[in-house]
């Protein structure tokens, strides 16, 4: 079972006002073999090299504890300012913090601070115990018994790195002035293929995709919607369709438009995903007049993914900047004053999730977007819960 407990052998001085990682340099000591207050069952800590870090080699849900006492031997120093300790993830993110204001009246008391948290860690993640004070001069973390400083982590639940994977994409521009279009995409049996289509037109006819087929089989419509900017008479439309294929090989994706009078060519892309059972019932459309395309979806389950398609008209600036945690661009193109974007993001929890794409520069223009949720093939309630790792690109076809 992955677990670790670490301590230090002596006092550690830290500069005032600076977050500093505690070093845990206490190594194995045969003279203490009767007790086991320093242990490491999963190679999580090296008491010599980078001994400020606890690494997580086994992905899972961990409970963390830490405690430290601040020094008490500096007259007056214990009576001012703050003392803080915190868990920091991967050198950047604090995930728990304890902050106190000693005010101990000059009494020579060690100021003791416990810290605790729970968190999910992927393989390769690490934490540090950070401390900070504002005494005004160098100040120290006390060393006593096995309580200060100590840090411990123990796994409560193991997770596995399987689940949804992005496989490939195809993108294709159509032809203006006609009501149909098609392109070729490659998929394998069991894959989920998601097609996104964007339209932009300055003409009066309503713009809509009325149907999409996958090797002549109708694809299911997840969400579609349009935007009409009255002042400029500009129309944008975005939609998403999906199909879980039972064959392997090249397929023809064909679409039909409600009108052949669009001023700009339609743009489409197909994304293939593995490790998913299909598409959830949750899907949305959104529209706006800005440089940020955004769609918010209430995810029905943990460990699923959100996929979005967006189209912005009358702009030559690409929607090439993703916004939002773990969002990945999969297909982007800018052609004849139309900016098309399609991407996805892993969501490790149910609830609200927003997928966004931003143009860096250019004026605000009308846009339309659609988003859907992909079901994870992993059961959220399984005894060994599944959790997908970083978004994985397995291949690209175009």
């Amino acid at each position: 079972m992955p677990a670790v407990r670490v301590t230090s052998t002596g006092l550690q001085y830290t500069e005032t006002g600076v977050w500093t990682a505690i070093n845990f340099n206490d190594g194995p000591d045969e003279t203490r073999s009767w007790r086991d207050d320093v242990f490491d069952t999963d190679g999580m800590h090296d008491y010599v090299t980078e001994n400020n870090k606890i690494y997580f080699n086994t992905p899972g849900w961990y409970v963390l504890t830490h405690g430290n006492a601040w020094g008490a031997s500096q007259a007056g120093a214990g009576n001012v300012g703050y003392r803080q300790n915190a868990f920091r993830l991967n050198g950047t993110d604090f995930i728990a913090i304890n902050s106190d204001n000693p005010s101990c009246g000059g009494d020579l008391v060690h100021w003791v601070m416990p810290l605790t948290a729970q968190y999910h860690f992927n393989a390769g993640d690490y934490i540090e115990v950070m401390v900070r004070h504002d005494v005004g001069s160098s100040y120290f973390i006390h060393k006593a018994n096995q309580n200060t400083p100590h840090a411990a982590a123990a796994i409560a639940q193991r997770t596995v790195s399987t689940g949804i994977k992005f496989v490939s994409y195809t993108k294709a521009s159509g032809t203006s002035g006609v009501s149909t279009g098609s392109f070729t995409h490659y998929a394998s049996s069991g894959d989920l293929v998601i097609v996104g289509i964007g339209l932009f037109s300055t003409r009066s006819s309503a713009q809509e995709v009325t149907g999409v087929t996958f090797n002549s089989t109708a694809m299911s419509t997840a969400a579609k919607g349009g935007n009409f900017i009255t002042a400029s008479s500009r129309r944008t439309f975005a939609g998403l369709w999906y199909h879980k294929t039972a064959t392997t090989g090249a397929v023809t994706v064909a679409y039909t438009l409600a009108s052949s009078s669009q001023s700009h060519p339609p743009i489409a892309a197909a994304l293939t995903y593995a490790g998913t059972t299909g598409v959830a019932t949750t899907a949305v459309t959104s529209t706006g007049n800005s440089s940020l395309l955004s769609a918010a979806l209430t995810m029905s389950q943990a460990k699923s993914w959100i996929v979005g398609v967006g189209i912005a008209g009358n702009t030559a600036v690409p929607n090439s900047t993703v916004a939002g945690t773990s969002t990945v661009e999969r297909a982007e193109t800018t052609a004849t004053a139309v900016s098309f974007w399609m991407g996805d993001a892993f969501s490790n929890s149910s609830g609200s999730r927003t997928i966004q794409s931003r143009r860096s520069g250019g004026a605000a223009v009308g846009w339309a977007m659609a988003a859907l949720e992909i079901d994870s093939s992993q059961s959220a309630s399984s005894l060994v819960a599944a959790l997908v790792g970083p978004l994985a690109l397995m291949g690209v076809g175009q």
Binding site: G67, S99, M113, Q118
Partner: protein
């Protein structure tokens, strides 16, 4: 096994009150098993199946020069099962007071917990939103059913001085390995009956000190002769003006993971250094003071 870590993406105002207020959590960083909804009763983590669960919470408060800040975990809207407290500083600290707590308890299907807070500052204070650490509310089902939770039915008097006093526990809320006796040596917990790695913690509430100068109070987990985790607070002259009408006692928690060898006893100890000859009590509230809990983290 289900788990969740929820947070709230805006600051939450908390009115001055001696009563606990439940925090809302409108977002989730991780979730499995449907323990929490971001929309309906989003202050709650609700357990769909009975079992032993480890529950944690953390908050960062706005800074003011008066009153305390308390953070607790409340079960089924009525019983606080762990609490911790911090004084805020009248001497000009620039750091927001922050707290974390963890406990473990047995829950039935349908039971729920909330992260609760309170203060008695002159004006409303805020539990701040800070990306990834405030507020957070997390729970995971324990990997084993080897679990212990103890309390004591009467106040225990702690004499002044540097020496620690072992706390007695005369009530076993549950003890699935028979590590504790309510008849003899009630301060000792023999986790070594099941050797391996245990996660454990303790919490208590101290009687208010009659403060004229200053008093520290400590709570420690000790394995045989060595402390392995502790908590400490100080009640002094500088805090007199901060003490509210009624909730001026001190809450503490300590927790750690430890590999327990056979025959070595865990104890929970306390000390304080009020004016020579003075005593202070560890209060008996059954649900959170004093509490010792432990759960074995066995191979999965």
């Amino acid at each position: 096994m289900p788990y969740v870590r929820a947070y709230h993406d805006t600051s939450q105002a908390v009115e001055a009150s001696s009563l606990w207020s439940a925090l809302s959590f409108n977002s989730e960083a991780f979730s499995s098993g449907g323990l929490h909804s971001t929309a309906t009763n989003n202050s709650r983590i609700t357990f769909a199946s009975s079992g032993y669960y480890i529950v944690s919470a953390g908050t960062e408060w706005s800074l003011s020069a008066d009153s305390y800040r308390h953070l607790g975990i409340r079960k089924n809207g009525s019983s606080v099962i762990v609490a911790s407290g911090r004084w805020t500083n009248p001497t000009g600290s620039t750091a927001n007071p922050s707290l974390t707590v963890t406990t473990m308890d047995l829950f039935d299907s349908g039971d729920y917990v909330e992260a609760v807070v309170r203060h008695e500052a002159a004006t409303s204070q805020f539990v701040l939103y800070s990306s990834k650490y405030s507020p957070f509310f997390a729970a995971v089902q324990a990997p084993t059913t080897k679990a212990i939770r103890l309390t004591h039915s009467a106040a225990q008097t702690i004499s002044t001085g540097n020496s620690y006093t072992g706390l007695n526990f005369d009530t076993e809320i549950f003890d699935t390995i028979g590590a504790h006796s309510t008849a003899a040596a009630t301060s000792e917990i023999n986790l070594g009956l099941s050797t391996g790695i245990w996660l454990m913690g303790a919490s208590c509430e101290w009687q208010r000190a009659a403060i004229t100068t200053g008093t520290y109070m400590h709570l420690a987990l000790r394995e045989e002769g060595f402390a392995i985790a502790d908590d400490g607070l100080f009640a002094g002259e500088v805090h007199v003006g901060q003490q509210g009408a009624g909730q001026n006692t001190l809450f503490m928690t300590a927790q750690s993971g430890e590999a327990m060898a056979s025959t070595f006893m865990m104890t929970v100890r306390a000390r304080q250094n009020a004016t020579p000859g003075s005593t202070l009590d560890i209060l008996a509230t059954l649900s959170y003071s004093p509490i010792f809990w432990a759960v074995k983290m066995e191979p999965l």
